[in-house]
Amino acid sequence: MSKGDVMSRKDIILKLQEIFIKVFKTGVTIEDSTSAMDIDNWDSLNHISLLAAIEEEFSIKFTIKEMRSIFKVGDLLDIIESKK
């Protein structure tokens, strides 16, 4: 994918999958409904690490309001999609 191309939701979730494995150190398959209930290590501190990793990998910035509105993978996808 060249710079400037719009990422599809599928592209985003593939990249997110790699970030989840790196942050949570688990091979869980993510989907829109995946939440902290589904991943043992998804506590509030790892949540911050996750968002920081996403910011770096996708070259985006979350607002504090957005951070507080993220409860599941689908929420992340919506925000990332709106910024890419």
Binding site: L45, E55, M67
Partner: protein, 135 residues
Amino acid sequence: MIKFHHIGVVTSELQKTIEIYKQLNYTEALSVVDEIQLANIVLLKNKNGPMVELISPTSEDSPAHKWIDRVTAGPYHTCYECDDLEKQINLFISQNLMVISDIVPAIAFDNKSVVFLWGNHVGLIELVEKDKRVT
């Protein structure tokens, strides 16, 4: 200009932690209840070492409470004093740090403005603005 300000140490057993730091020649400089951070705060000073801020959460809603689960007790943030908070925040953002709190007054530091940032390559950093106070 930016300079080191203090180390933040979380504990659920404030008095026990104070006693240990007293053995390290620290003395209590201030003890306050911070209603914003929902924590008891004790500042410890030692002329030969950095200032230590002990943070003991008074509620599970305290931002520091999650660190009790993670580290039980110990250092969890470093704080730096800067002349211009907004400028330093923007510099850190350009280095992939993330602002994770609002700018709020720090009761233990004479209501000076503070903010917390997180970076996956540096951990939790607090910034305190040298002269500006939140009223």
